[in-house]
Amino acid sequence: MLQFFLRRIAVLIPTFLGVSLIAFSFIRLLPGDPVLILAGQHAMTPEQHAAAMHALGFDRSLPVQYLDYLGNMLQGDFGQSVVTKRSVLQEFFARFPATLELSICAMIIAVCLGIPAGVFAAVKRGSFFDHTVMGTALIGYSMPIFWWGLLLIILFSGILQWTPVSGRIDLLYYFPSVTGFMLIDSLLSGQKGAFGSAVSHLILPAIVLGTIPLAVIARQTRSAMLEVLSEDYVRTARAKGLPPFRVIGVHALRNALIPVITTIGLQVGVLMAGAILTETIFSWPGVGKWMVDSVFKRDYTVIQGGLLLIAAIIMFVNLIVDLLYGLINPRIRH
């Protein structure tokens, strides 16, 4: 097991370096001059321009910039935002809890609905229910997040007025952030109605963000279940006269879950990508929105650092999933 663990870690190092190189070079290969972008339409003299390039370190050779960047990064210094002049790492962690809270809730929705839907679709294979679930999943999977989000806002917030349009909590509530998780902070604040307000703000974005993972999980569960249901041991279990609930819930589902867990792990990347759009629509002050803003402002250090931190998180989650997988299915260790 230790060897398996070390092997996994060893693979991560080149991956991480690769990501850092990509993040670094993508930004620099793009045409456009960060200094001119910062200056906007105000014309600069060549001297002002050169001074600004120097101040930002863009006048050095690319390899030097990269090595310098890598060195700083290993010391936990991801640089300073060109726009706000604050530390990238600090800015990241100030926003990460919001993204994490949203992602966890989206994942809870996706798992709690996706797995049962997949299981029932597999058990009732070919039925109306099966077709409906799989058809809906296909639509959910293909839905552009931006459009889907706006559609829900217009329906539930605009027309029906059931949920608030955007934000994390009603602006009437104002309390200091303790954990960064609004659901927890609102409970800690002890203010009447704060928790309910936080939940109502969370519902729509969590549904939007959870839609694609939900669709993927439902489809994956169904196909894994179908495979397992045709195995001999399931037939044996049935022949023994075990109640159907036990056969499906315990014997079949447990084995079918192995590929589903991998799928769930892979959805972390999807969640991060989805967070970029979801957070922008719902004005959710998380990492995704922060990245979008930085792209518009050409905040090189933030794009670079943010990209890398997100990649690191995805890699970390995948590592955990791999390890979990190793625990559940010992064959994988070899």
């Binding site: 001119l36 726009v83 800015e91 926003r95 605009g158 349009v165 934000g167 104002y174 309390f175 998380g286």
Partner: protein, 532 residues
């Protein structure tokens, strides 16, 4: 500290719950996060809305809804005959805001003024580079370090600025955001505590609203400054709900989650106007979009060719296609909301037949040229590509073949620094300080030839003489006359096809009273009230 805050929050919630009548809260759905809270360091309107227009004051202010100057922290001023010395008498008894993080012990005085400017001008001042990598960009780009020789305290309530050369737009510059006055007492305390960065995070000024809290990318909270020298505001709390997506802002406004929003999508305006709970204010923006012919290049060095090309273009069609009508055709290089605008100038008529004839007379046949289209959407030109295509089609009707080129935004501006760029360039400008000099000299003066500010490479003696004279004249009436004449010369010379001034639209709840649109494009909430 946390306990104290929680208590304050509980108190706040209690007052809110006990009855809405006791606290009036105005929520503004702002379009983005401020870059920081020290307006001297930044250049974007989003940041200024959140800082200089709420928390701070300046020596002189723009009159609400106009680009004219009125007294601010300075009650009066005198200008020496040579136009180089400006002496300001400061307002007495102005208090800096008392907040959780700082309680001032003295009133505003000359030291605060000297400090606020010296930190920008003197690179040895400890506050000159207190935020690593940040510079006083706006002050630099308005030429303050070269313009201002000294800022001196004469007595507690008198300050004297000495300039290196006479410069009439200087008064307007002092009303600009980067000229906001900070508290020296607060600065000294932060410096002593070695927490200078706080200046950019926990701002403190003399303005109508005081800072309460900021949650990045989410909410900025202010409350009315109870000691405001202009009287306490009618609303008690001001909240900026940061909402970058325009469609979402519209939904929030309709759901009354906010009461004012800026920058709606043009497509949403009709719907907003139809909503019985909303009102929509409109005003020509302080901007212009233009197509600049490179006047240093054949055949665009010929006035006749430029005039003919101007007459070939149907501007109305562009305004309908790109702005859905939310813009007005531009005649002069400055917008009609600006003082000094010449109403008598007539636009070149849309007349393809005449244009064709003029081109023939000028001896231009089978002209093929480039049209530069910006890659980005700007307030004055939402879709440059689309506009360029319409111009291209119009040109084709008079026998001119145009190729549309575009570059990445930074590259686009960079290439314009080359005087010999080819063809006609689409670009625009949003005014900084409401002074005509900021359009006419910045964009069309001889000094700016060879920069992206003057892609026409326009340098006309008659025009230049007029704007230079206006720059040093301190009588505003005379200045306005000079600028009016300059606009006549501009139209005769036709270095640009003046395309449009876009309309700035502000949708808001009908309950909002007293909101005045600012021609400079800022959003001010002093004087605003909410009907019960």
């Amino acid at each position: 500290m946390i306990r104290k805050l929680t208590f304050a929050a509980a108190l706040l919630a209690a007052t809110v719950l006990s009855g809405a009548a006791s606290a009036k809260t105005l929520v503004y759905c702002s379009e983005g996060s401020p870059e920081g809270f020290d307006p001297g360091l930044y250049t974007s309107g989003t940041t200024f809305d959140a800082t200089s227009r709420t928390i701070y004051n300046r020596l002189v202010e723009f009159k609400h809804g106009s680009t004219e100057i009125e007294p601010g922290l300075a009650e009066s001023w005198t200008i020496s005959d040579d136009g180089k010395e400006y002496t300001f008498k400061l307002r007495k008894g102005v208090k800096f805001q008392s907040t959780d993080f700082f309680t001032p012990t003295r009133d505003f005085n000359a030291d605060d003024v000297v400090f606020s400017f010296e930190r920008q001008l003197d690179d040895k001042n400890p506050w000159h580079a207190y935020v690593a990598g940040a510079t006083y960009q706006y002050s630099d780009s308005m030429g303050f370090p070269d313009l201002i020789k000294s800022v001196e305290k004469v007595d507690d309530l008198t300050v004297k600025f000495t300039l290196n050369s006479p410069n009439a737009p200087f008064m307007a510059d002092l009303a600009m955001d980067f000229s906001s006055i900070l508290s020296k007492e607060y600065a000294d305390k932060l410096e002593a505590d070695k927490t200078m960065q706080q200046m950019n995070q926990q701002p403190l000024g003399t303005g109508p609203f005081q800072f309460v809290a900021y949650q990045p990318d989410a909410v900025i909270r202010y409350k009315a400054n109870p000691d405001y020298w202009g009287g306490k505001q009618k609303i008690d709390d001001l909240v900026f709900a940061i909402t970058p997506d325009a469609s979402v802002r519209v939904q929030k406004l309709k759901a009354n989650e906010c009461q004012i929003m800026p920058y709606p999508n043009a497509a949403d305006v009709k719907d907003l106007k139809a909503d019985p709970n909303l009102q929509v204010l409109e005003q020509a923006g302080l901007n212009v979009a233009y197509l600049a012919y490179n006047t240093t290049q054949k055949p665009f060095d010929n006035v006749k060719v430029r005039k003919a090309l101007n007459m070939a273009v149907n501007k109305e069609a562009i305004i309908q296609a790109v702005f859905e009508g939310m813009a007005e055709p531009a005649i002069n290089p400055i917008p009609p909301t600006m003082w000094g605008y010449n109403k008598d100038v007539k636009d070149d008529p849309y007349d393809p037949e005449a244009a064709k004839k003029m081109l023939e007379e000028a001896g231009v046949k089978d002209l093929s040229m480039k049209i530069w289209a910006m890659p980005v959407s700007r307030p004055y030109m939402l879709n440059a590509r689309r506009a360029a295509e319409l111009i291209q089609a119009d040109y084709a009707k008079v026998g001119v073949k145009a190729e549309i080129v575009t570059y990445e935004w930074g590259e686009y501006l960079k290439r314009l620094n080359n005087k010999d760029h080819d063809g006609a360039v689409m670009l625009g400008w949003t005014g900084d300080n409401g002074d005509p000099d900021n359009f006419l000299a910045t964009l069309l003066g001889c000094d700016s030839v060879g920069t992206s500010n003057n892609p026409a490479g326009f340098c006309n003696k008659e025009f230049e003489d007029l704007i230079q004279k206006a720059k040093i004249e301190s009588d505003q009436k005379k200045r306005a006359e000079l600028y009016e004449q300059a606009q006549v010369v501009f139209k005769e010379q036709a270095p640009w096809l003046t395309i449009d001034h876009s309309t700035v639209v502000m949708p808001m709840s009908k309950k909002v009273e007293g909101f005045v649109q600012d021609p400079l494009g800022y959003h001010r909430f002093d004087g605003v009230d909410l009907a019960e």
